[in-house]
């Protein structure tokens, strides 16, 4: 893994380019608009009157007829028991598909260029969400041990889940309280009679052509005017439960890292150790998806400048790198704690493995007086070292929040 030289000016230029999402901007605008002082009571009454009018329409006319107000169409669409939505690019490639039924959700997003799944979410109950991210290798990566990585795990509901609105044109539109109706009329389409709305959505950031069923008000199609993306919605009576199955095998040419299983295995290995010799206990050997080997141990903390890196017999290694928390410079680290289950700080570092690694390695750990050799060590495969933050003592269990030194 190449070290990253930091050019201050270049880094500043990158920081200047950071921008908020359009959604964030719209939320801010909305928050301010609900707090704007009103000049007179007349607009307030009009708003109240309008709200009562919409409520009465919903109560008295649950099945709106031709030409329903946009607000009713949005409400009808948002409250359906089951829906199947597909979003396609202007050239017809499927970008995203979402199934929803009650509290269950199944979402799959595709890269339009490569056609592969880049994100997948399944929610079988209201608390757990499994996800799958695919990281393609960059063309510059030549490490023979690097793999295209895909990760899966479960969101415990306390962390912020992946925001499906980044992909979901329908959800974006339905969540937008500031939609402006630019046009509305009845139209005849190849799919049948529709109520057509031309909308300006602040959350989407552009104009949308929306087609809804005249009898029920439910949206059937949304066309994003600037880029031609089309979202279509169907309303099945029921959905096959297998659609929401979280055990999905995907990306056969990628190694799928189960984050939860990685963490559990690392916790067990760290606690038990991989062997002790000469005062040193080898705690973990893990190859990450970039092809770097992380070796962690207790009993002999490496120097902060990594002047004496670990060695592996018969394998070519790159320059050592790592984190101050794992060296004698741990005080420089923002977080550095004894690893839970062990009670002492871990020491260690990483080195790129530049030749194809066998399944077991002979690893030599540096000590003040020399090296200690551990033979035939089977290493764990992980996605990123940061996946193991909690068992290594960098974050609290289940919160992801650091504990102060």
């Amino acid at each position: 893994m190449p070290q990253i030289p930091v050019n201050l000016n270049s880094a500043i230029e990158t920081l200047k380019e950071e921008m908020p999402s359009e959604e964030a901007r719209a939320r801010a605008s909305q928050a301010l608009s609900t707090r704007r002082p009103r000049a007179s009571w007349i607009p307030r009454l009009a708003l109240v009157g309008g709200a009562i009018g919409v409520a009465m329409a919903i109560i008295l006319w649950p099945r709106p007829t031709l030409g329903s107000p946009w607000s009713v169409a949005a409400l009808q669409t948002a409250n359906v028991p089951a829906s199947h939505r597909i979003e396609r690019s202007a050239t017809g490639e499927t970008l995203m598909e979402i199934w929803q039924e009650g509290g269950k959700m199944a979402m799959t997003a595709h890269d339009p260029k490569t056609r592969r799944v880049i994100l997948l979410m399944r929610r079988n109950d209201k608390q757990h969400l499994s996800y799958f991210n695919f990281y393609p290798p960059r063309p510059k990566d030549r490490n023979p041990n690097a793999t295209p990585a895909a990760t899966k795990g479960r969101n415990d509901g306390r962390s912020r889940p992946y925001d499906a609105a980044n992909f979901d044109l329908v959800k974006t539109l339905l969540d937008d309280k500031n939609v402006k109706v630019l046009d509305q009329r009845n139209v005849t389409t190849p799919e049948g009679e529709r109520t057509y709305y031309k909308l300006r959505s602040t959350l989407a950031g552009h104009t949308l052509d929306v087609y809804a069923e005249p009898q029920t008000g439910r949206i059937r199609k949304i066309v994003s005017v600037p880029n031609g993306t089309i979202a279509t919605i169907e309303y099945p009576a029921t959905i096959d439960p297998a659609v929401f199955d979280v055990n999905v095998a995907l990306a056969s040419d990628a190694v799928t890292y189960d984050i939860d299983e990685e963490t559990a295995q690392a916790r067990r290995t760290l606690a038990a150790g991989l062997g002790s010799k000469g005062g040193v206990t080898l705690r973990l050997a893990a190859m990450d998806s970039s092809g770097s080997l992380w070796v962690l141990w207790t009993g002999a903390t490496p120097e902060g400048n990594l002047s004496k890196p670990f060695k592996v017999t018969g394998v070519k290694l790159g320059k050592a790198y790592g984190l101050p928390a794992l060296t004698t410079s741990w005080k420089k680290a923002r977080v550095s704690l004894p690893a839970p289950g062990i009670g002492v700080r871990l020491g260690g570092m990483a080195r790129p493995v530049l030749t194809k690694a066998p399944k077991t390695l002979d690893i030599s750990i540096p000590t003040p007086s020399g090296y200690v050799l551990f033979r035939q060590i089977a290493y764990q495969r992980i996605n990123l070292i940061y996946d193991l933050s909690e068992p290594m003592g960098w974050s609290k269990p289940d919160t992801g929040h650091a504990v102060r030194r």
């Binding site: 270049s10 964030a24 605008s29 301010l32 990281y135």
Partner: protein, 178 residues
């Protein structure tokens, strides 16, 4: 429309002025707060709070410095209040996602890592001047400090960052990428 006029219209409850305020300044405020907090969600919340405070206090804007320095000053005060409430520095700062600009983002992230070790006032001065492009005078107005103190803080920032980023060479700031 100049800043004083915009502030007057905000104070008068002009709806269009609010949209102008958000369009012109939300991005800068968010960016500044994101780089201070290292977390998108918190930055979004604080950016909203900043704009609301600005709206409330628009009648007190006197135009001595521009609207942007004034807003960034409010943002910094919101950040310091937020920071005091936090017992621990969260580890789950947002890290760059793998992508085409991954190395550039890692480099910027390394800078933010180093900045996070500097005192808040030094950090704010650095971000306001070098990233947000405020002049020394505007930074001073924003943080209510003399211009000389701004210069001193910037000098401190550059010296310490150069040293920290050099020391980071044996270590990757974020070693993990696909």
């Amino acid at each position: 429309m100049d800043d004083v006029e915009l502030a007057k219209r905000l104070a008068a409850g002009d709806h269009g002025a609010v949209d102008l305020l958000v369009d012109a300044h939300h991005a800068s405020i968010f960016r500044f707060l994101r780089q201070l907090t290292r977390h998108v969600d918190d930055a979004e919340d604080l950016a909203q709070q900043t704009l609301m405070r600005a709206l409330k206090g628009a009648d007190r804007f006197d135009g001595r410095a521009g609207l942007r320095p004034w807003l960034l000053g409010i943002a910094f005060r919101e950040f310091t209040k937020w920071r005091r409430k936090k017992l621990w520095l969260p580890l789950t700062i947002d890290r760059p996602n793998p992508g085409d600009d991954y190395e550039r983002l890692l480099e910027a992230d390394a800078l933010l890592d180093a900045l996070s070790r500097l005192p808040e006032g030094v950090r704010a001065a650095f971000l306001m001047h070098y990233v947000e492009g405020l002049s020394l005078r505007e930074v001073g107005e924003s943080l209510a400090i003399p211009e000389g103190t701004v210069k001193s803080r910037l000098h401190t920032a550059r010296t310490q960052l150069s040293s920290m980023l050099e020391e980071e060479v044996p270590y990757a700031a974020n070693p993990c990428k696909p």
